[in-house]
């Protein structure tokens, strides 16, 4: 009965959806941002954040405040909320949550492996890992020397295991290989998540598929942009593109051949979604960066996800919006602490 999913959605997930909508209402408003921007130092920022939903999250901080403390505390708060959602979720929403954590897990694994390469102690790097993506086997990652080792020994029982199909190789893990591994993992992760949402059907598919398509295309653009001037071959590059986006297949083939930003822009011209985005990117002196433009678009999509009811997209959107908010606060805090006020306004407001 696919068409009456609305009828029994609330039986399993109604509580959580209500909760997440309530949480969304506590996102910082434009007024809050205006106030934050006016802060003179981080203590002011703390005082102002106390009046928002963040509350006393910095109250038991004795030493001087730094940006990284704020960042960690905010992440902890987000993590607490997410854990609550996750602990109260039922299938298939809990699988959905697992998929959401996978991207953070991938980042963490790569971070740890990079750290191991540079012979940094695990404890130092663990602090930098995103709490949403932490898992038990994480600390053992640096035992592995090759990708297949990594898979066989460490990650075979984690949710990341299925994404390893394409990247089993006996190459030793150097910096480039790790980066390739990350992108391959991401590619298969995005595709798997996309298939999951598609198979789920209903409103969830209607909401989540465009978001994930965008995510895939964004990765494709970023990979292309980052590969200019590296030794990555064009075939290799194409193999890293996630294939679940709107660009697939022609756009990706074109992107694989691109050699500079202008050419990339020409590829994007074929797509009505991406044309205005890439057009909005300014040149070096002033204007927005490509990343910011993408973030803005992402925020818009995530906010729109709240317009529909009875779907899982709200959870994804909420976490992403919170992340964006945290990025904004960190940005503002950085600007304040470094006395770099000219750029303080280039945060991305959440509509």
């Amino acid at each position: 009965m696919p068409d009456c999913a609305e009828l029994y959605f609330n039986v399993d997930h109604g509580y959580l959806e209500g909760l997440v909508r309530g949480c969304k209402a506590s996102l910082l408003t434009q007024q809050d941002y205006l106030n934050l921007v006016q802060c003179e130092n981080l203590e002011d920022l703390k005082i102002h954040l106390q009046t928002t939903d963040y509350g006393n999250f910095l109250a038991d901080q004795t030493g001087p405040l730094t940006v990284s403390i704020i960042d960690t505390k905010m992440k902890k708060k987000l993590c607490r909320e997410f854990e609550y959602f996750r602990n109260h979720s039922l299938e298939p929403l809990s699988t959905f949550f697992t998929y959401m954590t996978c991207s953070y897990m991938i980042d963490n694994v790569i971070l740890l492996m990079n750290g191991a390469l540079q012979k940094k102690p695990v404890k130092d790097i663990l602090v930098k890992c995103h709490p949403l993506g932490s898992f038990m086997e994480m600390e053992a990652v640096n035992i592995a020397e090759t990708a297949s080792d990594l898979f066989n020994a460490i990650l075979v029982e984690t949710p990341l295991a299925p994404f390893f199909q394409d990247c089993m190789s006996e190459n030793t893990l150097d910096e480039l290989n790790i980066e390739l591994l990350r992108n391959k993992l991401y590619k298969s992760y995005l595709e798997a998540f996309y298939t999951f949402c598609k198979n789920h059907g209903d409103v969830t598919a209607e909401i989540m598929c465009p978001i994930l398509e965008f995510e895939a295309d964004r990765r494709a653009f970023i990979i292309t942009l980052n590969s200019f001037g590296t030794e990555l071959t064009k075939d290799d590059r194409e193999s890293l593109y996630p294939t679940c986006g709107k660009l697939y297949p022609e756009g990706l083939r074109l992107l694989a051949q691109v050699e500079d930003f202008e050419q990339m822009k020409r590829v994007a011209d074929h797509y009505e979604v991406y044309k205005p985005l890439l057009d909005a990117v300014g040149d070096n002196n002033g204007g927005k960066t490509l990343e910011d433009v993408f973030f803005e678009h992402e925020v818009k999509m995530n906010v729109l996800a709240f317009n529909r009811q009875f779907h899982y997209g709200v959870f994804y959107a909420y976490i992403k919006l919170r992340e964006q908010e945290m990025r904004n606060i960190v940005w503002i805090a950085e600007c304040i602490s470094q006395r770099h006020r000219t750029k303080i306004n280039s945060y991305i407001p959440i509509l």
């Binding site: 106030n35 006016q38 802060c39 003179e40 203590e43 002011d44 005082i47 102002h48 009046t51 006393n56 109250a59 038991d60 695990v122 038990m136 086997e137 994480m138 600390e139 053992a140 640096n142 035992i143 066989n152 020994a153 460490i154 075979v156 029982e157």
Partner: protein
């Protein structure tokens, strides 16, 4: 008039607080709770205000105190709560206090850290001993019963017996042993197997007693494991994996002697640690006990200090930056007290220049303050729930004190039920100082807050119950019924009596199921029952018909009186606000409209009651028909209630019809006329906000408003008020809507009062049904079983009476009474558009520890 009739008159005062004394002055004000501060820095965000540094200090102190309280609670030391609340600390003491607290915190943190370290050490040692104990059995088992590891067993046993021999062989056999969390065992073993490809042997056993985790302090089950492995590479990996799973690894003794040695060493160290730990704990407890004595007053003091700085943040500095200017609303009656408070504050701080105040004229609407006591508070709350009264308007709470319980009782009229309710309320009132009641929560709290309302409701229900002569649905015959049944028998009358009377004889009585008493037979009706309804009606089958007619008429009469009273209170409002034209153009037409239609209806009801007796009752005209005919002018003349009825009715109707256009057009036209320059009545036209001015002053003000209060920031708002555009269309529209609402409202509200009848009927019927279904059944059973049966029946009856009739019915009657007050009564005069006066008072700060905000 009492202060309950109107809210207190307020004035806006400016306080000039010398910079040095501001804190003390505010402290004195906060203790007294006299004034409401106005925020003069609304445009300044919270962290840019003057006293943000002090606020931060307060927050720091609060943080330390919260930490102290948390530690004290953790140590299970009782926190004494002082009865009196200490005053805000003088500024000189604040620094001292802060120092003390900070020192205490540092000390406490140090000691706790040491304690934690010691405890962790101890726990680790305990774990180690456990591990040694358990692994000893592993070795034995490995030797004797491990067939699964056969290929290694020879090596294993050998190695255990003689480690040096293995070293001679050149192969490094390593051991890692430790403890692991119960939940992680399986994953741990799997990963070991995968990573080391089977070149390890893992043995583990569950520890029989759960131990505390040194890091988190949780008490959990542990597994002791022993891993034997070959080669350094694998050993490296094994250690990594152990780290990954947060195992607690302890060195593994290679020989039996070594093991014994370690064990003994451990035992003595554990003993030592225990003593040290005890000492530390004792010391910590002592420190905490000392802290606990003062922590309550400190918490209160810091709260007060924070509140003071919060208020100071609302003040603005004057030009010279030497004194703070605060604007406050203060009741005029309290001005003296306010002056005294400022003097006290100045004296306390020893300042040379005293702080002073002066009142400033304002055109803004002041907040509403109605002083209540514990008795009137509940009634005021009922009114405030609808809307806080506008400044100085008539406060319906005063009348609600009587009308609310009365209207409730009309619906809840039962002597017994009312008495039970009265007793319950009396219990609450008599025990109102009981601490358990004061701190009660939720529903009981609700009852407790409304205890005086309940008390009056119960009392009035007793009264109406006596009127209805209902006690648990039964009537009480106190004075003896006024009806005499035997007088109906023909035998009791002399033969000379007129024959047209229908009298009873034996055959009539025997053959009729239902007989009617005829009050016109002499001797049957001996005059009315002295108080309330005659108990004989309880037996009559036409009881309902009789009561319905009575209750319906009664509710209409009560309703119309209530509403008329509301309209008269409107006149009071207009008089007070000097808007006489409103009386002539609004209130009087309203009154005429109401009285000419519904007042006349009451007149007819009472007239019919008085004039028609039992003999003439058959020719009495129906009031309903008469009332309808009043509007329809029937062609054929009816009998009528009294001679000359038709012209009187025509006159009344004409007055009614005339009052409507006056009501609709009078006020707008008058205002238009005033606006066109002929304001000779000396009335203000801009509403309630100007009431405290004399009319001449106002006129001049209207002309020269721009000269006034040039630098004052509230100028803009003032101008908004005075500059109000005269918009005839809007006024007309408002008045038309009001008139239509009123005229239709008169009819629908009158009908609405019929709920009095409906609810009292429902209540009576419900209690009747309960009696018939339960008690009557219980009483009918014959005597042998009856006694046994009656007990549960009584209990059941009591429970149902309380829950259905008292609680449920009471609640519904309560709601309907509220509605009658809010809608039918208050919309005749009450605006309810004010804001409540919230004084800056330390009493409003909560004195609880666990309150975060």
């Amino acid at each position: 008039m009492g202060s309950l009739f109107r809210s207190e008159s307020m004035c806006l005062a400016q306080l000039f607080l010398q910079a040095g004394t501001a804190y003390e002055c505010l402290s004195a004000l906060g203790e007294r709770g006299l004034v409401q501060f106005r925020d003069l820095n609304q445009s300044v965000s919270s962290f840019q205000r003057k006293f943000v540094g002090e606020m931060k200090r307060c927050e720091e102190l609060e943080r330390i105190l919260a930490y102290l309280v948390q530690e004290i609670n953790k140590a299970d030391i009782p926190l004494p709560e002082g009865e009196t609340s200490p005053p805000a600390p003088p500024l000189k003491q604040v620094l001292e206090m802060q120092e003390q607290l900070q020192k205490l915190e540092v000390e406490l943190r140090e000691v706790t850290k040491n304690k934690e370290k010691l405890r962790k050490n101890l726990l680790e040692l305990i774990e180690y001993t456990h591990m040694l104990r358990v692994t000893k059995t592993f070795v034995k088992r490995n030797v004797e019963f491990e067939p699964a590891y056969e290929e290694f067993s020879s090596l294993e046993t050998e190695s255990l017996i003689d480690y040096s021999c293995m070293q001679r062989l050149g192969a490094k056999l390593g051991f890692v042993s430790g403890l692991i969390n119960q939940g992680k065992v399986e994953a741990f073993e799997k990963m070991l197997w995968r990573v080391c490809k089977g070149y390890t042997i893992v043995t583990y056993a569950e520890l029989d007693e759960p131990l505390e985790d040194p890091e988190t302090g949780e008490v959990i089950k542990w597994y002791v494991f022993l891993i034997s492995f070959w080669g350094e590479q694998i050993g490296y990996k094994v250690k990594k994996i152990c780290d990954c799973y947060h195992c607690h690894i302890y060195p593994y003794p290679n020989t039996a002697e070594e093991r014994k040695e370690i064990q003994e060493g451990l035992n003595t160290r554990i003993q030592d640690l225990y003593t040290v730990l005890h000492k530390t704990e004792d010391y910590l407890r002592q420190v905490l006990c000392n802290a606990a004595e003062t922590v309550y007053s400190r918490v209160i003091q810091v709260k007060k200090m924070k509140a003071i700085y919060h208020m100071l943040n609302m003040c603005s500095f004057d030009v010279t930056n030497k004194c703070l200017i605060a604007e406050v609303w203060c009741p005029e009656a309290d001005l003296q007290e306010l002056r005294r408070a400022l003097e006290d504050g100045s004296r306390e701080s020893g300042a040379t220049i005293p702080s002073f105040m002066n009142t400033i004229p304002t055109k803004e609407t002041p907040p509403t303050l109605i002083r209540t006591n514990k008795f009137t508070e509940g009634f005021q709350n009922i009114v405030d729930a609808y809307g806080v009264g506008s400044y100085r308007e008539v406060n319906p709470a005063l009348f609600t004190i009587i009308t609310f319980p009365f209207l409730f009782a009309v619906m809840f009229g039962d002597f017994g039920h009312g008495f039970v309710m009265f007793l319950f309320a009396l219990l609450l009132v008599l025990n109102e100082n009981h601490p358990r009641l004061k701190q009660s929560q939720e529903i009981l709290r609700m009852f407790f807050d409304g205890r005086y309302i309940l008390l009056l409701m119960g009392l009035f229900s007793v009264y109406t119950g006596l009127i209805y002569n209902d006690c648990f649905s039964k009537s009480v015959n106190i004075f003896g019924s006024g009806w005499n049944v035997s007088a109906m028998y023909s035998s009791s009358h002399a033969a000379k009596e007129p024959k047209k009377l229908i009298l009873w004889n034996n055959s009539v009585v025997r053959h009729n199921r239902v007989l009617q008493l005829d009050p016109s037979v002499p001797g049957v009706f001996q005059g009315p029952y002295p108080f309330g309804i005659d108990p004989i009606w309880n037996l009559a089958t036409n009881r309902l018909t009789f009561l319905n007619s009575f209750k319906m008429k009664m509710s209409v009469i009560l309703g119309i009186i209530h509403m008329t009273f509301g309209v008269t209170l409107g006149i009071c409002n207009h008089l007070h606000f000097r808007k006489k034209f409103n009386i002539y153009l609004v209130s009087i037409p309203e009154l005429l409209f109401m009285l000419c239609i519904f007042g006349y209806l009451i007149f007819m009801i009472i007239y019919k009651w008085l004039v028609y007796s039992a003999e003439t009752s058959r020719v009495a005209p129906s009031i309903l028909i008469e009332f309808i005919n009043m509007f329809l002018f029937p062609a054929s003349e009816t009998v009528g209630l009294y001679p000359g009825q038709a012209p009187v009715q025509r006159l009344l109707l004409a007055i009614t019809a005339l009052s409507v256009p006056v009501l609709v057009l009078g006020k707008p036209l008058f205002l238009l006329w005033l606006h066109n320059g002929r304001g000779c009545f000396g009335v203000s036209r801009s509403g309630y906000t100007l009431v405290r001015k004399d009319s001449e002053e106002e006129v001049s003000l209207l002309g020269s408003q721009d000269i006034e209060e040039g630098s004052n920031h509230m100028e803009d708002r003032c101008r908004e008020v005075t500059n109000e555009e005269f918009n005839f269309g809007e006024i007309l529209m408002t008045q038309v809507i009001h008139s239509i609402e009123y005229c239709l409202g008169c009819i629908s509200n009158t009908a609405s009062y019929l709920r009095l009848w409906a609810l009292s009927l429902a209540h009576a019927q419900l209690s009747d049904v309960l009696w018939a279904m339960l008690m009557r059944v219980g009483l009918r059973v014959d005597t042998t079983y009856g006694v046994l049966l009656l007990l549960p029946v009584m209990a059941f009856f009591a429970i149902l009476t309380i829950f259905i009739l008292l609680v449920m019915e009471g609640l519904s009657a309560f709601l309907h009474a509220i509605r009658l007050h809010w809608v039918e009564f208050q919309n005749k005069f009450y605006t309810g558009a004010g804001t409540k006066f919230v004084p800056f008072s330390f009493n409003l700060l909560s004195s609880k520890f666990n309150n975060d905000d």
